[in-house]
Amino acid sequence: MLYQLVKKQLLLLWRNPVQIFYLFGLPIILIFILSMALAGFMEEGSPELELKVAWLEHEDEVEQVNQFIDEMEDLGVPAEALGENEYLQMVAMLREDVLQGEDLQEMIELKIIDEDQKADVLADDSYSGLIEVPENFTYDMLQVLSGQSGEKPELMLHVNQEDGIYSSVLSQILEQFDKVLTTQAFLQQHSLDIDIGDMQAVTNAGEQIQIDQMDPISSRDYYTVAMAVYTGLYVASTIGFFATRERQDQIFDRIIVGDLSRWVYFFSVLISGFIMAFIQLLFLYCFSYLVFQVAFNDILAFLITTFSYSVSVGGITVLLTAISYRFKSDAIIGLFTGIVTSILAFIGGSFFPIGEFSETMQQIGDMTPNGSGLSAYIQLLRGGNMKDVTSHLIYMASFGIAMIVIAAMSFPKRGAAR
C-alpha cells in the first residue's frame, strides 16, 4: 500500500509541469546564470595574486656555512654527517626554492636590493614587503639546529600595511618557513642522531600551503552544489503542498475510511519527499557532470551525502505536512516556500559563500541542512573523502530524524485533521 501511495505522489508530480520546472529546470538556469555572473569572483577559488617583494641580505651565507662545518669538524662531527653543503644554505633555499620556486614564481616578483636602496623600497607602495636577512642568520640558525645554541635568529619582514591580503600572504609564507625551521630545531634538541638533510622539507613550504587549501573549485562547481541543495528544499514544500491538498479535498478522509493507517500515509509522504530529493539531486549532478564537467571523484561518498541530504529533505517534508494537518492550513507551506527557504539558502551559503566571511558564519551555515550538505559536497569536489564529510553526514541524517520525530508527534490523531 505504501508503494501505491508513493507511486501516486510521484505520478502527480510528473503530471505537474510547473512543479517539474521549478524542481528540475529552474536550478539549471540558476546554475548557468550564477556561475557565469560570478565566475570572475570565484574562478580557481581565489583572486590572482601578484606580489612585489624586496630581499636584503646582510650576510654571506656560503661563508657562514663553511664556518659552521669547520667548527663541527673541530668538535668531531664528520662533514659527511652534516649532509650536502647546499642543504645547509637555508636562506638560499627560501629565496630560490620557495619564493622563486615553481609554485610561487608567477605570484612573487622578487627584487634583490642593497642596503642603500632599503629606505626607497620602504617608501615605495608598489612593494608588498621587504624581507631582511640579518647578519649571521644562517650560522646562528645552524647552531640552533645542531643544538649548540638556544637563541633562534629571525628573519625581518617589513610589510606594506595598506596592501592587505598581499602582505598577509607574504607573512604566511615566512611563518610557514619559520615553522619548518622550528620543527627542525625541536627535533635536533631532542635527538642525538642529527639529520640536517631533512631540511629539504623547507623547500616544500609553498606546497604545504596549497595542500591545506585542498583543490580549488570553480564557480560552476560551487553553484551547481549551491543550487542543488537550495532547490532540494523546494521538494519538501512541493510534496507537502500535495499532501495538504489531499486533506483539503477530503482525499485523506477517503484513504482513512479505506481502513488504511494514518502512519502508512505519514510514511508515504516521508518516502516521497526522500525519493524526490534524491532523484532531483542525481538529475542535477548528472546534468552538471555532462554539461559543466562538475565531477565527484569519490562516488560512494557522493551517494551517501546525497542520501543524507535527502533524509533531511524527507524530514522537512513530513514535518510541513504534519503541521499543516494539525493547524488545518497550508500557511506553513507558503511560509516555508516564500521565506524560510530563502533564509536557509542565504545562511547556508547558496547565494554566495557566506562562510568565508568568518568561522562563526560558516558554523551557523553548517547548522542548516542545506548548508551542511553544501559544505559536504564542496569538500568532496575539492578532493575530500568520506572521512572529511562524516560530521556533515551525521548532522544531516540526525536533522532529518529529528524532523521525523517532531512530525510524528505533531501529526493529528483520528479526526483532528478535519
Binding site: Q250, G258, D259, R418
Partner: protein, 310 residues
C-alpha cells in the same frame, strides 16, 4: 444494522451535535436534512468513523465501532462533499488507486473499475484527466470511487452540490438503482428537500445540532396535518402587504420569495378572503392563491421558522 446512540460532539466550545439517536436498517435509504451548520456533516463524519463522538456510541451489527472502526470501515463507502479525487489523474487511474486503497487487486480490481465506469456512465472517458471533466462528471466519479468495493452502506454527503440538473437527475437515478438492484443501504444528506423527498424511505431533520423530527415522508408531513400551507403568487410585493401578513394573528411562518409567498394557517381558519382584500388594498397584482400539499420544506419551515436554504 447501524445505530447512533445518544451521540454528542463538541469542538472546543461549539456543540455540533447534541444527543443524536439514529438507526439505519439494511436496504433502506435514509435522508438527513438540515441547513448549513445543522450538524449533518458532523453526524456523517461520526457515521463514517472519521471522528469519534464526545459522548455516545456507534454500533454496527450490535457491536461498538467507536474505538475499533475496522468492521464498519470495510462495510461503508463514503462520498464526501468535496470532489475527493486527484485532478491530474484520469478517471481510470483514480479508480485503480482508490480500489487498491480498498484492498482490491488484480483482475478483480480491473473488473470492478470497468463495472463502476459503466454504472456512472464514464466508460468512454476513462482515460481523460479528471481536471477536464464537467462538475457533473466529477460528481459521478466521486460516487463511483465509493462504490468500488461494493459497500453494504453508501454514505453520501451532499453529492449533488453545484451541478447541472441533468447530472443531478443521473445521480439520483444511480442511487435509486443501487438501492433497488443491489439492496445497498444509503445515507443521503442534502439541503435539497425534493431530492430527499424523492429518494428516501425515512428522514431525519436536524437543526443547530439537534434532531427536530424523524420518520417516513408521510409521517413527517403529518406534522402539518392540522395546518394549511397557503401559496400566494404575484409579480411583486409591497412591504406594507408583507408586514400586514406577518402581523395577522392566524398567520405564521411567512416566507417571502421573489414571486411567491408561503404561509401557514390553522385548518379551521379561512384567511382567503382577507388575503384577497389585502392584495386589493396594497395594489398587489395577484396571480394565484391556493392551498398547497405540505412539503418537507413546509415542515422544516414549520419546525424552525426558517427556510432550509436560509
Amino acid at each position: 444494522m447501524l445505530e447512533l446512540i445518544d451521540i454528542s460532539k463538541r469542538f472546543k466550545k461549539v456543540e455540533a451535535v447534541k444527543s443524536l439517536n439514529m438507526f439505519i436498517e439494511q436496504g433502506e435509504i435514509i435522508g438527513l436534512l438540515g441547513p448549513n451548520g445543522a450538524g449533518k456533516s458532523t453526524a456523517i463524519s461520526i457515521l463514517s468513523t472519521l471522528i469519534e463522538p464526545t459522548e455516545g456510541d456507534v454500533r454496527f451489527l450490535k457491536k461498538s465501532v467507536v474505538k475499533k472502526p475496522s468492521p464498519l470501515r470495510k462495510a461503508i463507502g463514503v462520498v464526501p462533499q468535496e470532489i475527493a479525487l486527484y485532478q491530474q489523474l484520469s478517471a481510470e487511474e483514480n479508480l485503480l488507486f482508490f480500489g487498491r486503497i480498498y484492498h482490491l487487486k488484480g483482475s478483480e480490481l480491473k473488473q470492478r473499475v470497468n463495472e463502476v465506469l459503466e454504472q456512472i456512465g464514464l466508460t468512454d472517458k476513462r482515460k481523460v484527466i479528471v481536471e477536464s471533466f464537467s462538475g457533473g462528471m466529477k460528481r459521478r466519479l466521486n460516487i463511483g470511487v465509493a462504490m468500488l468495493h461494493k459497500p453494504q452502506i453508501l454514505i453520501m454527503d451532499e453529492p449533488t452540490v453545484g451541478i447541472d440538473p441533468q447530472s443531478r437527475s443521473y445521480i439520483l437515478e444511480t442511487v435509486k438503482n443501487l438501492n433497488r438492484e443491489n439492496q445497498m443501504t444509503v445515507v443521503y444528506t442534502s439541503h435539497y428537500m425534493e431530492e430527499v423527498d424523492y429518494l428516501c424511505d425515512r428522514i431525519y431533520i436536524m437543526d443547530q445540532g439537534n434532531l427536530i423530527a424523524s420518520g417516513t415522508n408521510e409521517e413527517i408531513k403529518q406534522i402539518l396535518s392540522s395546518e394549511d400551507t397557503i401559496s400566494i403568487q404575484a409579480e411583486r410585493w409591497s412591504n406594507e402587504f408583507i408586514e400586514h401578513l406577518k402581523g395577522h394573528p392566524s398567520i405564521r411562518n411567512v416566507h417571502v420569495e421573489e414571486k411567491e409567498i408561503t404561509l401557514i394557517t390553522p385548518k379551521e381558519v379561512n384567511v382567503f378572503s382577507e388575503i384577497i382584500s389585502m392584495t386589493e388594498k396594497y395594489g398587489i397584482d395577484l396571480r394565484s392563491l391556493h392551498v398547497k400539499s405540505p412539503t418537507l420544506e413546509d415542515v422544516f419551515l414549520h419546525l424552525t421558522g426558517r427556510a432550509l436554504r436560509d
